[in-house]
């Protein structure tokens, strides 16, 4: 058994448990800060972790982090910041204005003080700060790649002293690229065939009947 403290409570759980599993195993109530329960894609189970013998407190996803003896864990509640810049991706028409648009929607992005707080906060090990800087420089493709595996846990947004909201900036860049430039030939052709009535469904086709 491994002994650790979660939310200030001493807990015992079998080795090879994730933090979430250990919490549940100990009979605690778990109705928030949980989602995909192990896949590591929903970004809900944000925790602060201090390992035995270490000074530094690190951020992590509780479903992906295995428990250790002497570990101290505290959940970080989800949060929503009220003041923010709203956009509709459909309203962004002119890609020549991309830098201007980024400046308008994310005015703080150019104020990055290169503290790397976002990088340290990211549980996925993404180069968040570089992604922010690339976006501001107009290197949108490279910026979007940085955020490719982002799970939107908002830990970088929480960490940024300049209120940049890096993950939301990264997502904005990605959405802009897709919405303004992705025009696949096979998709456009098929939509045309369906809209013109050239392709329909035959309910009586032999393949649509159960075998006798």
């Amino acid at each position: 058994m491994v002994c650790l403290s979660i939310e200030g409570r001493q807990i015992e759980a079998p080795a090879n448990c994730s933090i979430l599993q250990a919490f549940v195993h100990a009979g605690e109530t778990l109705v928030e800060g949980v989602g995909c329960m192990g896949q590591g894609v929903c970004g809900s189970c944000r925790v602060m972790v201090r390992r035995s013998g270490e000074q530094e407190v690190k951020t992590a996803l509780a479903c992906e982090t295995l428990i250790e003896d002497g570990m101290q864990v505290a959940f970080l509640d989800y949060f929503t910041t009220s003041a923010r810049h709203v956009y509709r991706i459909e309203d962004i028409g002119d890609s020549w204005q991309a830098l201007h648009t980024i400046g308008e929607i994310f005015p703080e992005a150019s104020h990055c003080r290169h503290c790397s707080g976002c990088d340290r906060a990211c549980p996925k090990g993404l180069d968040v700060q570089r992604g922010v800087n690339l976006a501001v420089e107009g290197k949108l493709g490279a910026s979007s790649e940085v955020f490719d595996e982002c799970v939107m846990c908002n830990l970088c947004t929480l960490a940024c002293p300049d209120h940049i909201r890096p993950n939301h900036l990264g997502l904005f860049v990605r959405r802009m690229i897709a919405a303004l430039s992705l025009r696949p030939a096979n998709l456009m052709r098929r939509i045309q065939q369906i809209e013109s009535g050239e392709m329909t469904i035959d309910f009586d086709a032999p393949g649509a009947q159960p075998p006798r």
Partner: protein, 542 residues
């Protein structure tokens, strides 16, 4: 279950890169399903004794909750805050978000209430992709026929036809919202969408974004909903009961706010249930790949208020759940691995099924191998090998480039996917049936709409990979459109929980216990009791 072949022995026999012998198939598909699929056998179903579907079959564990008493009574919600809106969407996954976005776009007021946090859903966990027939060698007709056939011709042809015809437009809608898709080559304008072939389909039809399509989809939909001024998002607000009026219409819902520990009554012209499936009820004691909130809440409430349901004795067990290590058991290994060519191997080093057959067939074949002693046993966990090392040898770099999630997963399991095979066993993945709906998502109860996994009729008795993501968006957009069009005043009728009292009489007459309560809201191991949490006295009737 007979003991399997010890892992060490099986591992010694396993030779990456060598084509394994194929075990000859000694029976028909029908015999395989009847013999080994959990939907079959003497304990696979019971007959419902109350409600619209009285006399019809249902999976036994689910039936217990479908025929349960309500969590609350009149007295618990007396004096609760009342809020009105045009459309109330319940559920924060892909289907709920699509419905909310479309309804809000038409100028209606929308509240989206979700039990966990916006986006926490099975959608975000979807890996493989979404089906849409865009290839030259493909057509909506083939998609239509594949879907019906895979569902054993139990799906509703009109619903399936509408879904497959919506497919390409759904993809365009997603791209307009800013979702990326894999391309054949890196040429965004005029290139082709990359297509992969799902098990059980006659053409390559899976469109994807790497092997985390659902994550890419959900982060785009979540952001769009979050930024839409017409949508109010209520996180941590599960629905505990629906409201009915004197004409039996659905008139809103009772929401429980987990933060404030209070009930809120929401009156709405239309309620759209997009609450997902039932995996976290661990039916038939299976592990599950589902997210934490998948406890069939919407299904239970829809049935109680009088909505017809269908195919609730049919569930999908995904063939490749993780079997080892135990702490990840039930987690999913995407069909993308088999789609790319990975093979399944039993403890004797043999292939035993065509890995690209429909999921029910492949899962049954794995269960057969384990039942007949050819499974592989490791520290009490049983399963078969998913041969990723050979896949990597045949397609160098595929794990790093195309199967990113798979590679991460192997790391979490403590091995390198290029060196060691996974141990896999079927995992409860999807609720094939659900609430019966029409082409607008309308149920048999006026004012009540359903979207996504909570519904039945698309997938018959077995679902194809990639059809769930299509179904939620196709129907989500349609239900959102229809709900926004409904006229009339929100408060034109009296609303309450009259249907609950009628239900309690029915339960008593049928001799069913009143102390079993549902919806469950959270899995048993969440250690949550609504009545304790809300500070309510236990019900006198209970």
């Amino acid at each position: 279950m007979p003991a399997g072949i010890p892992y060490e022995d099986a591992h010694k026999r396993y030779r990456p890169g060598v084509m394994p012998t194929v075990r000859s198939d000694d029976g028909s598909v029908d015999e395989l399903l009847k013999g080994y699929h959990p939907d079959h056998g003497p304990n696979a179903r019971v007959v419902l004794s109350v409600g619209v579907n009285r006399g019809e079959p249902c999976q036994p564990d689910l039936a217990r909750y479908l025929q349960a008493n309500a969590l609350i009574d009149d007295v618990d919600i007396a004096g609760a805050q009342l809020v009105t809106t045009d459309v109330l969407v319940i559920g924060g996954g892909g289907g709920g978000c699509a419905a909310a976005l479309i309804a809000a776009k038409q100028g209606t007021r929308v509240i989206l209430a979700t039990k966990l946090r916006l986006g926490d859903s099975n959608t975000v966990m979807a890996e493989g992709g979404i089906q849409a027939a865009v290839g030259d060698d493909d057509s909506p007709q083939l998609h239509f026929e594949d879907t019906l056939r895979a569902g054993h011709f139990c799906g509703v042809p009109e619903l399936v036809a509408q879904m497959v015809m919506d497919g390409p437009d759904v993809i365009r809608w997603l791209i307009r919202l800013g979702m990326m898709f894999d391309l054949e080559e890196d040429r965004p304008i005029g290139g082709n969408l990359l297509r992969k072939k799902p098990g059980g389909a006659s053409a390559a039809r899976i469109l994807s974004y790497r092997d985390y399509t659902g994550l890419e989809m959900m982060r785009v939909l979540r952001e769009a909903v979050d930024l839409d001024p017409g949508i109010e998002v209520w996180n941590r607000c599960p629905v505990v009961e629906l409201l009915s009026d004197e004409w039996g219409r659905c008139a809103g819902a009772v929401i429980y706010n987990l933060e404030w520990r209070t009930f809120v009554l929401v009156r709405a012209r239309a309620v759209i249930l997009a609450t997902g499936g039932a995996g976290r009820l661990h039916l038939n004691s299976f592990p599950t790949s589902n997210h934490y909130g998948a406890t069939a809440d919407g299904l239970v409430l829809a049935y109680r208020i009088g909505a017809r349901v269908r195919e609730l004795d049919s569930f999908q067990y995904h063939p490749t759940g993780i079997a080892y290590p135990p702490h990840l058991a039930g987690g999913l290994i995407s069909e993308a691995a088999r789609s790319a060519g990975a093979k399944l191997i039993n403890g004797k080093g043999e292939r035993f099924v065509d890995e690209l057959k429909p999921r029910d067939v492949v899962a049954s074949a794995i269960l057969r191998e384990c039942a007949q002693g050819r499974g592989i046993e490791r520290e009490g966990q049983i399963g078969v090998f998913l041969d990723t090392p050979t896949l990597e040898m045949e397609h160098p770099g595929i794990l790093a480039k195309r199967l990113v999630t798979l590679r991460h997963l192997a790391h979490k399991c403590g091995h390198d996917a290029a060196q060691e095979p996974f141990l896999v066993y079927p995992t409860l993945h999807y609720q094939n049936g659900g609430v019966a709906i029409d082409k607008d998502g309308a149920t048999s109860v006026p004012g009540l709409y359903c979207v996504g996994e909570v519904t039945g009729g698309f997938h018959g008795r077995n679902r194809l990979m990639g059809n769930a993501l299509l179904d939620i968006l196709s129907m989500g957009r349609r239900a959102g459109t229809k709900a926004a069009e409904l006229g009339g005043r929100v408060m034109a009728s009296r609303a309450g929980i009259g249907h609950v009292h009628a239900w309690q009489r029915e339960l008593t007459l049928a001799g069913l216990p009143l102390h079993v309560k549902a919806p469950r809201l959270f899995p048993d191991y969440a250690h949550f009791d609504l009545r304790v949490d809300a500070g309510l006295h236990s019900s006198a009737r209970g």
